[in-house]
């Protein structure tokens, strides 16, 4: 079984109830109520359907209920397997081409229009939705909060790492999963908040009502006065040949499979994109025992936080800068991928191609706001506020703080006389900041006293190390007068280890002279140690370069921060440069000796739902002088289940490939529903 059975941070409950199910007539077991898709992944089944066009195999893509690539025939009915809980005795079948509608001909048993009313409808129970709802709940508003997952917290639930930001404003230093628990219990303490999980907002209508797809079983029309759109973001996709193979999917989908469902979704994974999402996906892979073979970044620098990137490099994950993905290839699934360096115009240099044998390729090239409901509501003249990623793509720390402001703004719109502290806006701006200037690493002198060494040299909005230091010896420089400033040490270290354990970047070590040629270094470690005292392990500098093998002296564990602290005996000359422990050996990440690939860029898929290639779209644009994205619907681009949500972010590039400036092109019209709903649900036929 491909499950995560040991994890340094997540609880792995091995006693969940097992159920039997059939897949194409063969018996398998899974865990009760886990998504059918995850049960199949756990059984190493990754092809779910065969598309009509070219008999192409389809695997999981969004793992988020948004696309429909995971559709299977479940008990005779086509259903999205990623939002269908597994039950004993389920009959699951591969969907081949179009499904056949079951001959369910008995008369309509029940029809009901279900209605609800509230002051404020909150779309999405992630970090910003929860904090905005909490602010509004405190003020006494009647709130309906809808979230499409089983548990509240949104992407917080997938974050096993400690958060950046500041402790007082956004739980910095606490892991996402734990923040989700904190916010969940807070929101549930308000009797004026009705929470619907496993539920989607399907539409916002002109009559100030929303159509809710509740528990994926009922359709409820909710009337509201104000609307908070905190629906998060969707992952951007990329155009390259093989982008449609099962095994190519988003980093968010990967985190869902691995960190929520504890599925060992892959043996070896490669990542495209070095933003914080891509970086953290590599870290999540390693924690789950999956090889993170590499990260390709088209720009010349890591695009996420430097401390994040450095941390990943120290763990032994190579980051290939100035590289793009060329192809993903394999027989019906990803078996190998090829990357290549790019020239100054981002065109691949084929002679630099490198092929890696992996089973999974994660796309982490950015997010786009899910703000359609906001735009609709604005158009209808509703009282509406957007928050979190739905407003602007940023870290969850910023989303939590921004959510509070959004909640207060909504309260004002609904007539509450409150003032919002100007400081709030300043802080919100800082938390949203992109990473700033990078400074050279200063040399720290090794002494007989414990000294924290801060391997953190880029301005980012983060300061928990300052907050936890009991002697106040870690301080911020005052260049920017905000938490963007770099930290430095000045004072006495008590060797309490809190700074080591709290740092989200795992970027603090503590060192002192030991005796003779030796020094002592303490490093944080967020993996279950596969070494014990007196063993020698590989140590690196800040950016992951090999320094030496150091001897493990002691292994401690901070329960509060769920972080191991490894005390090592190292050489005095390296002591203050040692920043991390390598997790992966080099041979796990090596490319094949020679690149093996067949690069046919025309074959890249633009519209996944209907399997339309880039060549088909470009030819159609050229032949018909297209200036309106809606015209592409003639070749079915945008007509599929996802409602052009997946392909629309790629269209500017496609038009540009056809020689047309995107700004001349009329945009695709977005229409309800945002999620497909069976007619029996719209009728509330089943109670």
């Amino acid at each position: 079984m491909e499950r995560v059975i040991k994890h340094p941070v997540l609880k792995t409950d091995l006693n969940k109830k097992q159920v039997n199910f059939l897949f194409n007539g063969e018996k398998f077991t899974g865990l009760e109520d886990e998504p059918v898709s995850s049960a199949l992944f756990a059984n190493n089944i990754k092809v779910f359907s065969i598309h009509e066009v070219g008999d192409a195999p389809q695997g999981i893509f969004c793992a988020n209920g948004q696309c429909s690539h995971c559709t299977l025939i479940i008990n005779g009915v086509p259903l999205k397997s990623c939002i269908t809980p597994l039950k004993e005795g389920m009959d699951v079948r591969t969907l081949v081409h179009l499904p056949e509608l079951p001959k369910s001909d008995e008369g309509l048993r029940n029809f009901e229009i279900k209605e609800m009313k509230c002051d404020i409808l909150v779309v999405g129970g992630g970090p910003s939705g929860l904090t905005s709802a909490i602010e509004l709940a405190k003020l006494g508003f009647e709130i309906i909060l809808v979230d499409d997952k089983e548990k509240l917290g949104g992407k917080l639930l997938l974050q096993t790492h400690k958060f950046f930001g500041s402790i007082e404003d956004c739980y910095a230093g606490t892991r996402g999963i734990d923040i989700a628990d904190i916010l969940d219990s807070e929101i549930r303490s308000f009797p004026n908040v009705r929470i619907f999980t496993n539920s989607s907002v399907a539409a916002v209508y002109k009559d100030k009502k929303a159509g809710l797809f509740i528990d994926y079983k009922n359709y409820v029309i909710a009337e509201f006065e104000g609307l908070i759109v905190s629906a998060g973001a969707r992952e951007k996709n990329l155009i390259f040949p093989g982008n449609d193979l099962p095994g190519v999917y988003g980093a968010g989908a990967f985190q869902t499979l691995v960190n929520r469902d504890l599925i060992k979704a892959s043996g070896r994974v490669f990542i495209v994109g070095s933003g914080n999402v891509g970086l953290i996906a590599a870290y999540h892979a390693l924690q789950a025992g999956i090889s993170a073979v590499g990260i390709a970044e088209i720009l010349k620098e890591v695009s996420g936080y430097k401390v994040h990137g450095d941390k990943i490099k120290r763990m032994g994950v190579p980051i290939y800068l100035n590289h793009t993905i060329l192809t993903a290839e394999g027989n019906g699934k990803v078996e190998r991928i090829t990357i290549a360096e790019v020239d100054e115009n981002f065109n691949p240099l084929l002679e630099t191609a490198k092929t890696f044998e992996v089973d999974t390729l994660l796309i982490a090239v950015g997010l786009s706001s899910i703000d359609e409901f906001f735009n609709t509501a604005v158009q209808f003249g509703f009282k509406v506020v957007k928050a979190g990623d739905a407003d602007e793509i940023a870290e969850a720390s910023s989303a939590m703080f921004g959510g509070r402001i959004a909640g207060l703004n909504m309260a004002k719109m609904l007539g509450k006389e409150i003032e919002i502290d100007e400081e709030f806006y300043k802080k919100a701006e800082i938390l949203k900041s992109r990473p700033g200037k990078v400074y050279a690493e200063p040399v720290t002198e090794l002494t007989d006293n414990y000294t924290p060494i801060l391997h953190c040299h880029q301005e980012i909005p983060c300061n928990p190390c300052i907050s936890v230091c009991p002697s106040g010896a870690i301080k911020l420089q005052d260049a920017l007068n905000s938490i963007m400033d770099l930290p430095y040490f000045d004072g006495d270290c008590t060797r309490c280890g809190q700074c080591i354990a709290v740092c989200p970047g795992l970027a603090i070590s503590v060192a002192k002279k030991l005796y003779g040629e030796f020094a002592e270094v303490i490093l944080p470690h967020e993996f279950i140690p596969n070494f014990s005292a007196n063993e020698f392990i590989t140590l690196t500098d800040t950016e992951g370069n090999y320094l030496e093998k150091g001897e493990v002296m002691k292994i401690n564990y901070s329960r509060k921060y769920k972080t191991y602290m490894i005390t090592l005996k190292v050489s005095i000359q390296n002591a203050t440069r040692i920043a991390g422990i390598r997790i992966q050996d080099e041979d796990r990440t090596k490319p094949l000796p020679e690149a093996v690939y067949n690069y046919v860029p025309d074959n890249a898929i633009v519209c996944r739902c209907e399997r339309i290639t880039v060549k088909q779209v470009v030819d159609f644009i050229k032949a018909n002088d297209i200036r309106d994205a809606n015209q592409l619907k003639q070749i079915r681009v945008g007509m599929g289940a996802c409602g052009s949500r997946t392909c629309s972010v790629m269209l500017p590039r496609v038009f540009s490939a056809a020689g047309i400036n995107w700004y001349e092109v009329a945009q695709n019209t977005k229409r309800p529903l945002s999620i497909e709903i069976p007619m029996c649900v719209l009728a509330n036929e089943n109670q």
């Binding site: 429909s68 009915v77 086509p78 081409h97 179009l98 499904p99 056949e100 509608l101 079951p102 001959k103 369910s104 001909d105 008995e106 008369g107 309509l108 029809f111 229009i113 539409a203 209508y205 002109k206 009559d207 009502k209 929303a210 159509g211 359709y219 029309i221 158009q379 209808f380 032949a623 018909n624 297209i626 200036r627 309106d628 809606n630 015209q631 619907k633 003639q634 079915r636 007509m639 289940a641 409602g643 009329a666 229409r671 309800p672 529903l673 497909e676 709903i677 069976p678 007619m679 029996c680 719209l682 009728a683 036929e685």
Partner: protein, 382 residues
């Protein structure tokens, strides 16, 4: 100023096919459209049904021609428009409807329509699993069909361009200059054009365009709502039209298109007058209740998208076609009452013969659909 033989206002269900047939006759044609592309107004809101099953000779004739043209589109021009000859079925559950449809049948047959009454068993064969309680049978016209409005508009656009028709998108007509009862120029938001004949094919905006020319065309749009499901394997063939009125709706209809998607539409009662095409929460429960009562097998089908479209209505439910008395070079092709998509190709061909050839064989159409009728009748199969 650009000069043309014919200027068509509106690149929709009517204007685009018309531009092709006119250009094919060798006329120099321009089409002025305020939106960004062909069919972006109500054409794309049409669900795709094409029937000759009407209650009057003019529309029956026009749509018979449309069907012929669309049926041959692929073979003749190599354009895939997803045509299906699925027929139109009007299932009947009560005596009143049976009587009315049977009475109409006599008239329809007189106009050479291939349509007949079929019994309940045959209805069930055409729509397997349809609610048989009190099903009395229905009328079925096997030659009617459906096609993709998007693809039909796209196909005619490309055919028209090949014939030399010119399309000016994102240009709104703002004024007309007239002299001696003739329009001598048309000014848009971008440019100025002159044309021998001006055709008002402005759909939902026909009245406003009419007023700019000084001709009052009684076209007032109301909105209907439609939806489309996920695709599944074909399981029924005809367009099913239930004309029984309900408390909140008049008729509704649905069919399965070539992609396997079920497309459906309902007529609200009372009509929602105006040009607002934003969806409200009432539509889905309203239409789903009626569809599932009629055809429970649809229950597991997932609704993918919904939208509203305008029916540019005339007082009697019939279109307005022909030259005006006030302005001698102004031709009207307006007020299609929600049937522009099915009327468009036929009307385009007929208009080209009237304008280019001076053909009189369609006089019965322009006489029936003249602006100067008294609008006191009612179209039974609106």
């Amino acid at each position: 100023m650009k000069t043309f033989d014919v200027i068509i206002i509106g690149a929709g269900s009517i204007g685009v096919p018309m531009s092709f047939y006119l250009a094919k006759k060798g006329l120099k044609v321009a089409v002025l459209e305020k939106l960004a592309s062909e069919g972006r107004g109500q054409n794309r809101a049409a669900i795709g049904g094409i029937r000759a099953t009407h209650s009057d000779p003019a529309k029956i004739k026009i749509c018979q021609i449309s069907i012929e043209l669309l049926k041959r589109m692929k073979e003749e021009f190599g354009k895939e428009i997803d045509w299906i000859t699925g027929g139109y079925l009007f299932p009947v559950y009560d005596e009143r409807t049976e009587k009315a449809l049977k009475k109409l049948l006599i008239k329809q047959k007189e106009f050479n329509l291939n349509i007949d009454w079929i019994d309940a068993e045959k209805v069930d064969k055409l729509v397997p699993g349809i609610n048989k309680t009190e099903l009395r049978g229905g009328t079925f016209s096997p030659e009617d069909g459906s096609a993709s409005p998007l693809k039909v508009a796209g196909a005619y656009l490309s055919l028209a361009r090949n014939e030399g028709a010119e399309f000016y998108f994102n240009e709104e007509v703002i004024s007309f200059e007239t002299e001696n009862s003739k329009i001598i120029s048309v000014t848009t938001s971008k440019d100025k054009y002159s044309g021998g004949i001006i055709i008002n094919a402005a759909g939902g905006d026909a009245r406003e365009i009419g007023l700019l020319t000084g001709v009052n065309i009684p076209v007032i749009p109301d909105s209907h709502e439609a939806g489309i499901t996920e695709p599944v394997k074909p399981f029924f063939k005809p367009m099913v039209v239930d004309i029984r009125p309900d408390t909140q709706s008049a008729n509704y209809y649905f069919y399965q298109n070539k992609e396997g998607q079920v497309v459906f539409c309902i007529t609200p009662k009372p009509p929602i007058v105006g040009k607002d095409t934003d969806s409200t929460s009432e539509f889905l429960p309203l239409v789903i209740k009626r569809m599932l009562n009629l055809y429970p097998r649809l229950r597991n089908l997932r609704v993918r998208r919904t939208w509203r479209g305008l029916y540019p209505m005339t007082p009697d439910g019939f279109p307005i076609v022909g030259f005006t008395k006030e302005i001698e070079n102004l031709f009207l092709a307006a007020g299609m009452c929600g049937q522009g998509f099915m009327l468009g190709p036929g009307l385009g061909l007929i208009t080209s013969e009237i304008i280019a050839d001076g053909n009189r064989r369609y006089d019965f159409i322009t006489e029936q659909l003249t602006l100067y009728r008294n609008f006191s009748g009612t179209e039974m199969l609106k």
